[in-house]
């Protein structure tokens, strides 16, 4: 006997269909590609093409038959000249894999829960903050520039592209002096075409180059977000680990000042949502320098969310030429015992001010600078909450599905029993950013809100 022609599936969800019409009859010779029959489903009519060569010896299912099960024999074919035709069907295992899928679908919930995530929030169990020795005061702007310069000196595969990064010296002067030192090939001005140049940078990174892509602001990264998520973040997984993407996307994020809704948005939760990315948000100059250097060296795509208002602020920063910070490790900026205030980026400053105010009122606040949003250092936050039993989160972004929501939930999951009060979020209002000075001020977290939140969870 020769080969058996089976009822094909037209889609993954099709289980049966109608055999509408036979275009060949018993005794007809067929060759690969010949249309032999038409089948119908509720959605479509399709032609069935022969895969094997031979002569149709028997039509098993007459035309007009409804409800023909996928994979049931519809005709038989003799081996034809090749003889290989017969083998094609013999090699097929008789078990319908769709049945298997169905089985999995039915019992899947239980099965899936057995497969535990290796804690997406898993952060390296890094030792306590290393003492890097002497410091000097520099601005966040200088720290970012110095970080890029140091890494570019060390590795010729690192280069910077973006709008106005070269001849203009950076829209916010972050890349000042880099063109002079590294030349036009490694510090490249891009046309205003975020989608295109982001894709181009990701493609270059697939070959092993290490691009730094500056977005003039992260608002414009939305033009390119498909390339960031679908190409940069997912390709390693989709390739079974073959093709990684060492790339940094950086630029100012969040509200600046009086630039209205399209230019004042926090992308922290957007990017932190996505597996395959790392996301950091520096506050101080040391954060900026240490985290950006780590981001450039990291073999994964890293989003560096800077803040325009912070660029001109000065901080003490280690002068050690090897200074670097680990991604995935939060910093306790101020120790305290009564309440844990978790913040990132510019909001760390607000949290620090609030801690001062609270201290005046006899409340000891511990301030945690997240530094890294993905992976999140849940351990450091949880250790703090186990001590203070109270949690306040502060962020500029919208509350819905925000970073504060995530931090609160992680604390619920890890140390719910240690909480003496429900966590409270301080956040930007759930509205597009208004332009008017008074309204903008009201739309962003304010000092008194943080103080009040801390007092409410400490019942004071």
């Amino acid at each position: 006997m020769g080969a058996v022609i089976l009822m094909p599936a037209l889609s993954p969800t099709m289980t049966e269909g109608k055999l509408a019409r036979w275009l060949k009859k018993e005794g007809d010779a067929v060759k690969s590609g010949d249309v032999i029959a038409e089948i119908e489903t509720d959605k479509a009519t399709m032609e069935v093409e022969a895969v094997d060569e031979g002569t149709i010896t028997r039509i098993v299912v007459p035309e007009g038959t409804e409800g023909v099960q996928v994979n049931s024999p519809i005709a038989e074919l003799d081996g034809g000249a090749g003889g290989a035709a017969a083998q094609t069907m013999h090699g097929i295992t008789n078990k319908n894999p769709r049945e298997n899928e169905k089985m999995i679908a039915e019992t899947g919930t239980a099965q899936r829960t057995e497969v535990h995530a290796p804690a997406t929030a898993k952060a390296p169990a890094a030792p306590a903050e290393k003492d890097w020795g002497p410091t000097a005061s520099i601005t966040v702007r200088e720290a970012l520039r110095d970080a890029m310069a140091a890494e570019m000196r060390a590795d010729k595969d690192v280069f910077l592209i973006g709008e106005e990064v070269a001849q203009y010296q950076g829209a916010y002067k972050i890349s000042q002096g880099l063109l002079d030192e590294f030349g036009p090939k490694r510090v490249m001005d891009m046309p205003i075409t975020e989608h295109g140049f982001t894709g181009m940078a990701v493609g270059a990174a697939f070959t092993g180059l290490k691009p730094i892509v500056e977005f003039m602001t992260f608002n414009f990264s939305m033009q390119a977000i498909d390339q960031i998520i679908n190409s940069a973040a997912k390709t390693l997984y989709m390739s079974g680990g073959q093709l990684g993407c060492q790339i940094v996307f950086r630029g100012p994020n969040g509200a600046a000042s009086r630039v209205a809704a399209q230019h004042s948005q926090c992308y922290a939760s957007w990017y932190a949502h996505c597996p395959g990315l790392k996301v950091v948000a520096p506050w101080s100059a040391a954060d900026a320098k240490g985290l950006l250097r780590a981001a450039i060296r990291d073999p994964n795509p890293v989003i560096v969310l800077e803040n325009e208002i912070m660029y001109g602020h000065s901080f003490e920063c280690p002068t050690d030429p090897d200074f670097i910070l680990p991604i995935g490790k939060a910093k306790v900026e101020r120790a305290g015992t009564d309440v844990t205030i978790v913040a990132f980026s510019i909001m760390v400053g607000l949290a620090m001010q609030a801690a001062e105010k609270l201290a005046e009122q006899g409340i000891s606040a511990e301030v945690i600078n997240l530094r890294s949003l993905r992976p999140l250092d849940t351990e450091t936050i949880a250790n703090s909450v186990r001590k203070t039993n109270r949690l306040v989160t502060v962020e500029e972004g919208w509350p819905y599905a925000g970073i504060g929501a995530e931090v609160a939930m992680q604390i619920m999951e890890t140390c719910f029993d240690h909480l003496d009060a429900p966590p409270v979020r301080v956040h930007g209002l759930d509205i597009p950013m208004p332009y008017a000075a008074n309204l903008e001020k009201l739309a962003l977290p304010r000092l008194e809100q943080v103080v009040d939140a801390a007092k409410s969870v400490t019942y004071k």
Partner: protein, 340 residues
């Protein structure tokens, strides 16, 4: 410098000396046949439920990728969309690994985690396999950017359909490539239909080879059903890129015999149209006829090739069913590269 090209294999008169030798044409025939038979088998396995999700077959378009690949050297890069099985086989990737990826098994190129649309091979210069229409064009410009950055003389080939040619990022990539003189060959595989929408209903341009004209990118229309015409055009494009003159654009006029994907009823075109293309313009039949008529290749010689191809495909199908599904531990690997 657009050339009028009918999708007919008869463009070259008999008197003209073929630009291809016997061995090269035999290899092209073999490579095209491998893709054809592989895709037929993939269609069959899909019909049996062994391949899931999307499955976009390349049947009909084989001459494009085979002709182009003959112009490339090791180290050159290829990137394409989701209709990618032909490209992978043409670059020399193993049929086994491709078929096993289609069935979602550990023996697949992506360990079963990518599927039909997402396979890669650094070794063979194949950079995917991308599911977002048009995204591979910017990525392809990035491969060319890397060649330009490293000054290594390599060229990148970015394939996309005429449907993708309307995407904004495609034009952004054409501009970037022309601006920086990147060694990138853009190939529009114009198979006339972006899913179910004919090119006439999707593009105001009637000559897609001129889509880069605004940036001074030379373009040609090519009979994509003729592997020799493809190779000739490909050689011009590669020479242009290797000479540091920047990108080049080829519009390959081709045709897919099958639907857009497996679940496409193909109501947007007539059976007669498909049949006519198969009968008058089929790239494999054309090559076969030429081998017999002009190079005196015997049926016995062709049978050896047919049998070899059949055996490879059958072996790949067997492997793709015997290779186990990925273990559950694979769920959590390859999300991030662990820090070095």
């Amino acid at each position: 410098m657009a050339q009028a090209a009918e999708t007919s294999p008869k463009r070259r008169g008999k008197a003209k000396e073929p630009s291809i030798g016997r061995e090269d044409l035999l290899k092209a025939y073999r490579d095209m046949l491998l893709i054809r038979r592989f895709e037929e088998k993939a269609g069959q396995l899909y019909g049996m439920g062994l391949i899931g999700g999307f499955c976009h077959l390349y049947i009909g378009q084989e001459a494009v990728v085979v002709g182009m690949q003959m112009c490339l050297k090791p180290g050159d890069q290829v990137i394409t969309s989701y209709r990618d099985h032909g490209h992978m086989l043409a670059t020399g990737m193993e049929a086994r690994g491709v078929m096993a990826e289609l069935t979602g098994r550990i023996g697949g190129y992506s360990k079963g985690k990518g599927g039909s649309m997402h396979m890669f091979s650094r070794e063979k210069g194949f950079y995917g396999g991308h599911g977002i229409v048009g995204a591979q064009v910017s990525l392809g410009a990035g491969l060319a950017f890397a060649n330009w950055y490293r000054e290594d003389g390599r060229v990148a080939v970015a394939y996309f359909g005429e449907g993708a040619s309307n995407q904004g990022q495609v034009y952004e990539s054409l501009n970037l490539s022309a601006l920086f003189k990147l060694p990138c060959i853009f190939i529009i595989e114009n198979n006339k239909y972006g899913m179910g929408t004919s090119v006439e209903r999707a593009s105001a341009s009637r000559d897609l080879s001129q889509n880069g004209a605004a940036w001074g990118i030379p373009g040609e229309q090519v009979n994509g059903m003729d592997v020799i015409a493809v190779r000739e055009a490909g050689e011009r494009a590669v020479a242009h890129c290797r000479a540091g003159k920047g990108p080049y654009l080829l519009e390959m006029k081709t045709y897919r015999y099958r639907g857009h994907s497996m679940s496409d009823p193909a109501k947007y075109r007539t059976r007669e149209e498909v049949q006519k293309m198969r009968e008058t313009s089929d790239c494999i039949e054309t090559a076969r006829k030429m081998l017999v008529d002009q190079f005196a290749v015997t049926e016995a010689e062709l049978k050896v090739i047919d049998d070899e191809v059949k055996a490879i495909v059958q072996d790949s199908a067997d492997f793709a069913q015997q290779s186990p599904e990925p273990p559950e531990s694979e769920l959590w690997t390859d999300v991030l590269v662990e820090a070095r």
